[in-house]
């Protein structure tokens, strides 16, 4: 079982106006099998946390540490992190023209496993996972994210999670912009991964709606670059009723 340990993480980004600190001391531990919901207002730094963990070059880590099973994640390159088991479902997945989904998935799977998957089981796995997510088989031959609707992009992210079997999955607003049906399909995908693997999940969201489908073990309130409060599922309900005002006032 994997453990991702984030300690006092600070990160900055360079802007035309100068260097700006966005993460201001994040402490969080995620164990395999656990689901942590991260909720917080726009601009509080949730995506930055996700990107920083995945190793996006835009963000500089200025303080703190991140380890996965004791290994220093911050020392790893972007692709090494993914191969170590960290997966990031992105809030805004980018298009990759000329690269088909099927080619992309196979290349990624080969990279993550260190060997090409056996052709027969792989084709079946992909087809099965696409079926589960109600994705038309034609998607396999389309270019990665090109012309995908918002909901299709999110399903495609979960498809990758299902196939790559990470030990830690960070889902950045995978629920945003989905209608109820799509939300259910995507949530089922997440729950399947939880059942079948020991994945630890960081579920970043604005809305409590997804928490009706994917049950969190912990809820964290993320405000102004750090975790302001944490609790169990009941905290989500309180946020639903009270909003973030209390935390925002405290943070300022």
């Amino acid at each position: 079982m994997s453990v991702l340990e984030i300690t006092n993480l600070h990160a900055t980004v360079d802007t035309p106006e100068g260097t700006k600190e966005i993460l201001k001391g994040v402490d969080l531990t995620i164990r395999g099998g656990e689901t942590h919901a991260i909720m917080g207002p726009n601009g509080s730094g949730k995506s930055t946390l996700a990107y920083a963990l995945a190793g996006h070059p835009k963000y500089q880590i200025t303080e703190g540490s991140v380890t996965l099973d004791g290994e220093d994640v911050l020392e790893m390159s972007v692709d090494e992190r993914a191969r170590a088991g960290v997966f990031l479902a992105m809030q805004y997945p980018v298009e990759v023209p000329g690269v088909t989904v099927s080619n992309f998935l196979r290349t990624a799977k080969t990279a993550v496993d260190g060997e090409a998957p056996s052709l027969r089981t792989w084709v079946k796995d992909v087809k099965g996972a696409m079926d589960d997510l109600r994705m038309d088989p034609v998607f396999a031959e389309r270019n990665v994210n090109e012309g995908f609707s918002g909901g299709e992009k999110k399903r495609h992210e979960i498809l990758q999670m299902q196939l790559l079997k990470p030990s830690i999955a960070i889902l950045d607003e995978t629920d945003s912009g989905l209608d109820v049906d799509a939300l259910r399909i995507v949530s089922e995908g997440v729950n399947r991964a939880k059942e079948n693997t020991e994945v630890g999940i960081m579920l970043i969201t604005h809305y409590t709606r997804i928490l009706n489908y994917v049950k969190p073990d912990f809820v964290h309130v993320f405000v102004n670059g750090r975790i302001a409060e944490q609790g169990g599922p009941e905290l989500a309900e309180r946020l639903e009723n009270e909003g973030y005002d209390r935390f925002l006032a405290a943070a300022n």
């Binding site: 360079d14 802007t15 035309p16 995945a54 190793g55 996006h56 070059p57 835009k58 390159s77 972007v78 692709d79 992190r81 993914a82 191969r83 997966f87 990031l88 992105m90 997945p93 980018v94 298009e95 990759v96 023209p97 000329g98 690269v99 080619n103 992309f104 290349t107 990624a108 990279a111 993550v112 270019n143 990665v144 990758q160 790559l164």
Partner: protein, 434 residues
């Protein structure tokens, strides 16, 4: 006469510490965006205009209309190129000096090995002035005039009337030394209702002035694939001139990967209604390499269609590409449909791409006309996305560049050339990444 010229936004992109230099001649740089440490993403910018009607008002560029360019076999009618002349303003003239000199071909400087497919007559030759030589290509610049005057016997390859040639004609053009000067003139012809493919493969090295004349007969289908696979020190200026008959189809493909400095000027002329021209181009400029592609599509007949798509990648210090696409829709060319596209992918710092689409419209009765040009840096967000799935950086870059060209390579009907191209691109990438 109403004329409207839309000079598409001319773009220039240089990559050096994320600094982007705008184009000349008062055109707005398309890709001007601040970047941070060369790391912030700059998605390829797209300038897209679709015109369906001529604009009112005076013709801004009437004086320099593409139609006004003189055509002549006389060397004296063509000025020696200077950078003040519009069509040469991007070209490194000093590098090409030898190709502006009226020199004869040195013995054995360039070999032509011809393979003729079953169903076609043996290769023959045409003397200067012997038709159909000179019926399509009349030189529009000095180098073309020299190449014509200095080639006494032009190679003539013909697909006979109604013939469907399954295999391509192949011309292996091999340069025998970077210091050796050569001239060449080829005449490719598809007679009425025939189908044929011509592959011109340039390898080795030379200083080569070349004309390729294409006579696309009524209702025939011609495919031409010109591969500039030269060694690193070759110089090559080539004028391709096609004349399309009624209901004719030409698929014209230019692939420039090798050479020190290469300039290909491809002209397509519609002489009768119902014809179709597809211009595809692919180039990959390396360190110190100069690759220029110019197109002129002359819609001089009604109901013709043209579709231009050129894509280029650049890498390394002083890698340089120029693309200029002129489309003229003449008054009589009603029912024209045309689209042109140029995309450039600047992979490293120190490389520069210029892109100038140019549409001149003299009639309002057209189906559609548009152009798009974009020059983008390598998209770091794409790279991040692929790497975040465990794909190592080199492989991720390879996927993206392959993907960038894939759509064009798929258009090439000769499988072994397709395969060869994927391999060549892979080799180019490997070179840059080690």
């Amino acid at each position: 006469m109403t004329t409207s010229t839309t000079e598409g936004t001319e773009t220039t992109q240089e990559r050096s510490d994320g600094e982007i230099v705008g184009g000349a001649a008062g055109a707005a740089p398309v890709a001007a965006r601040a970047t941070i440490d060369g790391l912030a993403p700059v998605a390829p910018q797209l300038e897209d205009e679709r015109l369906t009607l001529p604009a009112d008002g005076p013709a801004k560029h009437a004086a320099t209309s593409r139609a006004a360019r003189p055509r002549s076999f006389e060397l004296g009618d063509h000025p020696v190129p200077t950078s003040k002349i519009e069509e040469w303003r991007f070209t490194p003239l000093r590098r090409f000096t030898s190709l502006f000199q009226d020199d004869a071909t040195e013995d054995g400087a360039v070999d032509h090995a011809v393979t003729v497919p079953e169903g076609a007559p043996e290769a023959s030759t045409l003397a200067i002035g012997e038709a159909p030589r000179g019926t399509a290509l009349v030189p529009e610049d000095l180098t073309a005039a020299i190449a014509s005057a200095r080639t006494e016997q032009a190679l003539h390859l013909v697909a006979p009337r109604n013939a469907e040639l399954a295999e391509p004609f192949r011309v292996e053009i091999t340069g025998r030394g970077a210091d050796r000067r050569a001239n060449g003139h080829l005449v490719l012809e598809t007679e009425e209702s025939s189908t044929a493919t011509f592959v011109l493969n340039h390898t080795g090295s030379a200083q080569y002035a070349q004309n390729v004349e294409m006579i696309v007969g009524d209702n025939s289908r011609m495919t031409v694939i010109a591969l500039q696979d030269w060694d690193d020190d070759a110089l090559h200026i080539s004028t391709h001139h096609a004349k399309l008959g009624r209901d004719a189809k030409l698929k014209h493909i230019v692939v420039s990967l090798g050479g020190s400095a290469v300039r290909v000027n491809a002209i397509g002329e519609f002489s009768a209604p119902g014809a179709e021209l597809e211009n595809t181009g692919l180039y990959f400029a390396d360190e110190n390499q100069f690759l220029e592609h110019r197109l002129f599509v002359d819609h001089a007949a009604p109901n013709c269609t043209s579709d231009v798509a050129y894509k280029g990648a650049l890498q390394g210090q002083k890698a340089r590409s120029v693309w200029v696409g002129d489309v003229l829709i003449r008054k009589e060319a009603e029912g024209t449909s045309t689209y042109e596209l140029n995309r450039n992918l600047v992979l490293t710092e120190g490389a520069r791409a210029d892109s100038v689409p140019n549409l001149e419209i003299e009639t309002g009765e057209i189906e559609g006309a548009g152009h798009a040009a974009a020059t983008g840096r390598f998209d770091d967000e794409q790279l991040f996305y692929l790497r975040a799935r465990g794909i190592p950086e080199k492989e991720a870059r390879r996927l993206v560049v392959r993907g960038f060209f894939a759509e064009l390579i798929q258009k090439i009907d000769v499988p072994e050339i397709r395969e060869h191209l994927f391999e060549s691109i892979e080799a180019e990438l490997t070179r840059s990444m080690n």
